[in-house]
């Protein structure tokens, strides 16, 4: 039997979380940082040992528990990348909370570490019910993080968050019970190959959709996100935007698409319609926000809509693009929330108008913020470009109209992000207190620099990230091949013309005979 590295990655933060509950504030911080760094190291080992092109499911662990309920772990390339994203962001979150959190530090760190356990568990689970437990339990620490350590209106935000996300879960659980009954197994890899009756697929798909669409979030069930972000502490926002939003996308790629391909194809129009609305609607809403976190939250909804259309393009480009947007957005939106946190820690306001001219007193901060702004806008050479480009290229094959509408996101995205950047970093220094803020300290450097490096790495050489997922995406495409939609950009090759358009007869007079 292989070394149970996935279990170890679950155990390390779990043990640390329990320890944190009994420790003083300063030791809890150290333990949390140490544990998350160990998990990052384990993640790197995992990645290095992942055999690209090898078995689809690797590092599998299985233990029979009771009544067909299995403790089954294992990852494919898609899960690997999302686990990497989680373990990469975790130490940064701990650092981001280092000075900002002063009350109940031990519990706070425990909540974060528990969150890490559950996130890794979601991506590694191979059993349907195990997945469900990790998936839903993830709500609890996030609920606590917002509700206990959040802003002034944290109770409203946390209950909204809980209400929304729980609503879909109930339906998903019912669907899962039906599926296990029908297929006779709760093993996810088996279910991914199982052909459910076409008639039932529709209902199952909708039940899962209710849960994943909220998590994504898709318009119109997105309104919990801006409130949750605004009230959450910085690190909470980072995890929320960086990883929790990816649970929805992961759900679609792991469950909805491979398990209910026919329903996915039948309901693709719904996904496209909601995504098109989301891109335009939330981008415009982002344009008029006064609160930095709300602005970035709304931009997340628009970006996630690109993920959705990429997934439902049913081709390699769309699927890989969707995954790359998820990874890129995880880094970039996380980094943007950190950037907000850096100045929030100094001035204790998210009001955009209170800042201005930060390039003068915080040039290093302004540089990082610029990089992440540009990445969010999808500038080539940064992570988000690769994803958005591939996702939109994928959807072009299916529908030029959807592509056109979704690609307007690059215009609107540029508008709201540059407008934000201008109001924060450029212009005159309007407020004395904002002008007196100091530039990044060492801790903040340690938070932002690794993300910046990852964003550029993913933009310049995305092969490192695409390679592990290639085989799994190809398998999914094969699974979807039979239901791939008729595309509207169908090409009819005609007879080539004899002449170039500007053909001029050699007689120097007149033009060609076309």
């Amino acid at each position: 039997m292989e070394f149970p590295i996935l279990s170890l990655m679950l155990a390390v933060p779990l043990v640390a979380a329990i320890a944190c509950l009994f420790l003083t504030a300063s030791s809890a911080r150290m333990v949390a940082l140490f544990a998350t760094l160990i998990n990052l190291a384990l993640g790197v080992i995992l990645w290095l040992n992942y055999d690209i092109g090898g078995a689809q499911w690797q590092f599998t662990e299985r233990a029979q528990l009771f009544a067909g309920f299995e403790y089954a772990l294992g990852i494919d390339g898609i899960a690997l990348m999302l686990i990497m994203l989680s373990v990469f962001l975790m130490p940064i979150c701990i650092l981001a909370s280092w000075d900002g959190i002063t009350k109940r530090v031990g519990e706070y760190m425990a909540a974060f570490l528990l969150m890490e356990v559950l996130m890794i568990g979601v991506f590694a689970a191979q059993d349907l019910f195990l997945f469900y437990i990790f998936f839903e339990a993830g709500l609890i620490p996030m609920y606590l993080i917002i509700g206990v350590w959040g802003g002034d209106n944290r109770i409203y935000a946390s209950y909204k968050f809980f209400l929304y996300t729980l609503l879909g879960s109930v339906l998903m659980l019912i669907a899962m019970l039906w599926m296990v009954n029908e297929a006779g197994t709760s093993d996810i890899p088996t279910l991914m190959q199982y052909d459910f009756p076409v008639g039932a697929q529709l209902w199952l798909w909708l039940a899962f959709f209710a849960s994943f669409a909220v998590k994504m979030p898709m318009w119109p069930v997105h309104t919990w996100l801006p409130d949750a972000h605004v009230q959450a502490p910085t690190a909470g926002s980072v995890i929320l935007a960086g990883v929790l939003l990816k649970l929805g996308g992961y759900g679609f790629i792991r469950f909805s698409l491979p398990m209910f391909p026919d329903a996915s194809a039948d309901l693709a129009w719904l996904v496209f319609a909601l995504s098109m609305v989301a891109v335009i609607y939330t981008s415009l809403v982002a344009l008029v926000q006064h609160d930095m976190k709300k602005l970035i939250a709304y931009s997340s909804v628009a970006h996630m809509a690109i993920v959705m259309v990429g997934l439902f393009a049913f081709n390699v480009q769309g699927l890989e693009g969707a995954m790359m947007v998820m990874l890129g957005h995880g880094l970039v939106s996380g980094a943007l929330f950190l950037c907000v946190g850096v100045i929030y820690d100094r001035l204790h306001t998210r009001e955009i108008a209170r800042y201005g001219g930060l390039s003068i007193n915080m040039p290093k901060y302004a540089l990082f913020f610029l990089l992440f702004t540009m990445a969010s806008v999808g500038l080539p050479g940064t992570s988000n470009f690769v994803g958005e480009f591939l996702a939109l290229a994928g959807i072009y094959k299916v529908s030029t109209f959807v592509t056109l509408v979704c690609t307007t996101g690059i215009i609107l995205g540029a508008a709201y992000m540059l407008y934000l950047y201008r109001r924060v970093a450029f212009g005159e220094q309007r407020n004395a207190d904002a002008a007196a803020m100091t530039d990044l300290n060492a801790r903040e450097w340690a938070m932002l620099a690794p993300i910046a490096a990852a964003v550029l790495w993913m933009g310049v050489y995305p092969e490192s990230f695409l390679a592990p997922m290639r085989q799994d995406i190809a398998a999914l495409e094969t699974r979807l091949a039979s239901v791939a939609p008729q595309y509207d950009s169908e090409l009819t090759v005609g007879t080539p013309k004899d002449h170039a358009a500007n053909f001029v007869a050699a007689s120097h007079e007149g033009e060609g005979e076309h």
Binding site: G381, I411, L412, Y461, E490, L491, N502
Partner: protein, 687 residues
């Protein structure tokens, strides 16, 4: 020689990173030296490549760098392509960039943020080089967006100024509208050809010339729709009519930036793209018709606006826009060599004009309004001669039968001739628009010269000059051009104020430092000679171009065989423009005021740039913010939240109030409910 291409491209990047990261922790001379040094090395390495292609000793080559993306059938790598077309762009970019770096030593002397400025300049150069060396469409798009970023940063370089920030955002966002087209074009190209590699697409393009494809529910000619989408990208970058509004505002950036980015290099990227993809465009007659029409329309539109502006940089900006129109319609009628030739000569003389204007602005303490210039000929003679060379070049001074002329004569006349020689209606339209624009070009160029260098000094009324005289120091203040008022008032301002002696207010402009004069000198040589020396190569040498563009031999014959009247048309209208300018700005300076009054609405239409900015403001900007607010307040808060989570909460709250009533705690009410239940159950079982 081609082996040097990675150094040419990556040295500026390296310099930009080093200069940017070191920033102010070293004296600014460090950043300046390292960036300028890198650019001069790049330039020195570029010319041998270009000359190698001129002499025919070099052939095309692609230097691979790194894998970029592989996603199913869609794969593209980082690679550096060198062929004739690239070589032309290499010398244009590196030469102008190196000179602009040098020029900025003097121009930006007093700026506290010099390292940042030089880092941006070098970063721009890198992105531009990536664009022109691209072997696939996506790397071209990388360069495309990279220059957009640098342009954004440099337009907004003086980031404390609201106008500069607004201009920077406008430039980026308007360009993104074009990029939308470019991206869709790349997607379409990929799905049609299965590749984004430029040589492979160009090779396969003729085979698709009869194909149709679905687009937005319509069935259209494949190549037309692809080329139109790509051309929309070119329109954004090259500020063609409709997407041009950002370019004049981009003049908020420091003048060296305007010379490098918004005259010589970045804005010509669209022309480069059309030429690079010329075999593809040649399969798309409708798209080419659009290129021709938009080019010709931009050419005349920008020229009309240029005749009425007072800001010296804006005049040159509109002139650039207009000249880009020439390049496009040249490409549209199939004369890609002529388009590239005009791009080449234009780079020299337009950079010269901008840097000359910068020298004037430097001398005049950041005053940019030509109404406050006058008689500068004797004050700054070197600048004057350089600007004169630039003006002679842009107005196309030259005589066909002598076979001699300034740079613009060779390239612009060739374009007009080829448009006429093409023999189509659109070609004729372009010819007439181009000729009319040539008249206006001559008028506004000489108007600029006369207002600036001739007449009497009028700078006493300038706030900038007053500030300089009163404060007695050389600190550059935020330039603050007078508000554009309505026409009548404008002209009154042009009359020198009587209060000051000879209108100088005791201020004497000084000639610029040597670092600014050297680039002016070098570019003057280019403006005078570039046409004469390279015309045969660019226009007539099919072997020079090789496979890098679509070379249309019969069309070039047709071009050479146009009537003499056509060949002299540009020269004649140039003389007319010169004469009118002389009449209005030297002979009788009251004419412009009277003419503006007489032409009232027309003048205001031109002066207000055909009201494009206002139109777009009310058509796009205002509705976007309005919709955003409505979606937020009425959509999210007013509907989704109200009926969603808040509604659910309300129902639960009310429901629990109702449910509470059942839990009274009284035994008799529970007993009653039990009894009722029991009766119901029995009823159900029995019947």
């Amino acid at each position: 020689m081609n082996g040097f291409i990675p150094y040419i491209v990556f040295l500026p990047l390296l310099a930009a990173i080093v200069a940017g990261l070191v920033n102010k922790s070293a004296p600014s001379v460090f950043a300046k030296s390292i960036t300028t040094g890198a650019l001069f090395i790049s330039c020195a390495l570029s010319w041998p490549i270009f000359l190698g292609f001129v002499s025919g000793s070099l052939s095309e080559e692609v230097v691979p760098v790194l894998t970029w993306v592989q996603s199913g059938a869609l794969s593209f790598d980082w690679a550096l392509r060198v062929d004739t077309l690239t070589a032309v762009m290499l010398v244009v970019i590196t030469t102008v960039s190196a000179l602009v770096h040098l020029y900025s030593w003097g121009y930006m002397e007093e700026d506290p943020d010099q390292p940042r400025f030089f880092a941006y300049l070098s970063l721009f150069t890198f992105a531009m080089l990536m664009l022109v060396t691209a072997d696939n469409l996506v790397q071209m798009f990388f360069g495309w967006e990279g220059v957009g970023l640098a342009s954004y940063l440099l337009i907004g370089f003086w980031f404390k100024k609201p106008s500069a920030n607004a201009a920077a955002i406008k430039a980026f966002v308007v360009n993104r509208v074009g990029d939308l087209g470019f991206m869709l074009g790349i997607f379409g190209t990929f799905w049609v050809f299965g590749t984004v590699s430029i040589p492979e697409v160009l090779e396969a393009a003729p085979g698709m010339s009869g194909a149709t494809i679905g687009f937005l529910g319509l069935r259209v000619h494949t190549m037309d729709v692809l080329c139109i989408l790509l051309f929309i990208g070119a329109m954004g970058k090259s500020a063609q009519l409709g997407l041009h509004t950002w370019l004049p505002d981009a003049m908020e950036g420091p003048t060296p930036v305007s010379a490098l980015i918004h005259a010589a290099t970045m804005v010509t990227a669209g022309v480069f793209m059309v030429c690079r993809l010329s075999p593809m465009f040649e399969t798309a007659p409708v798209a080419l018709g659009m290129v021709t029409f938009i080019g010709a329309a931009t050419c005349i539109f920008a020229a009309t606006v240029g005749t009425t502006q007072w800001d010296i940089k804006r005049v040159i900006a509109y002139s650039t826009c207009s000249q880009l129109g020439y390049m496009f319609f040249a490409a549209g009628v199939g004369a890609y060599g002529a388009a590239m030739f005009h791009l080449f000569t234009h780079a020299f003389f337009k950079a010269l004009l901008f840097l000359g204007a910068g020298s004037v602005i430097h001398a005049m303490h950041h005053e940019q309004d030509m109404r406050y210039y006058g008689a500068l000929r004797k004050e700054i003679p070197f600048t004057f001669w350089a600007m004169l060379a630039g003006t002679l070049a842009i107005t196309g001074v030259g005589i066909y039968h002598l076979g001699a002329g300034f740079a613009g004569f060779w390239s612009k006349d060739a374009i007009l001739e080829v448009a006429y020689g093409r023999g189509t209606e659109l070609g004729n339209f372009a010819f007439w628009m181009g000729t009319l624009a040539a008249l206006l070009t001559s008028f506004y160029s000489w108007r600029l010269m006369f207002l600036t260098f001739w007449g009497k000094p009028r700078w006493a009324d300038s706030h900038h000059i007053q500030h300089a005289v009163n404060a007695g120091h050389d600190e550059p203040d935020e330039h603050n051009p007078p508000k554009q008022e309505d026409a009548g008032q404008d002209v009154k301002h042009a009359v020198p104020s009587p209060h000051y002696d000879a209108g100088t207010a005791g201020y004497h402009p000084h000639e610029s430092p040597i670092s600014m004069l050297i680039p002016l000198g070098v570019l003057s040589v280019g403006a005078v000679l570039a046409g004469q020396v390279f015309a045969p190569t660019f226009l007539d040498d099919a072997a020079f171009w090789g496979q890098s563009i679509f070379y249309n031999e019969p069309l070039i014959h047709a071009m050479h065989n146009v009537p003499y009247l056509v060949k002299y048309a540009a020269f004649i209208v140039m003389l007319i423009g010169l004469f009118v300018a002389w009449l209005a700005y030297i002979k009788d300076t009251s004419i412009p005021g009277k003419a503006a009054e007489q032409l009232g609405p027309v003048y205001r239409f031109f002066y207000n740039k055909w009201y494009f900015d206002e139109l777009y403001h009310y058509l796009f900007v205002v509705p976007a913010f309005w919709l955003g607010r409505q979606f937020w307040k009425l959509g999210d808060i007013g509907t989704i939240d109200r009926f969603g989570p808040n509604g659910v909460a309300w129902v639960i709250e009310k429901g629990s109030v109702g449910a509470k009533k059942f839990q009274t705690g009284y035994l008799y009410s529970y007993a009653l409910v039990m009894l009722l239940g029991l009766v119901a159950a029995i009823t159900w079982v029995l019947f």
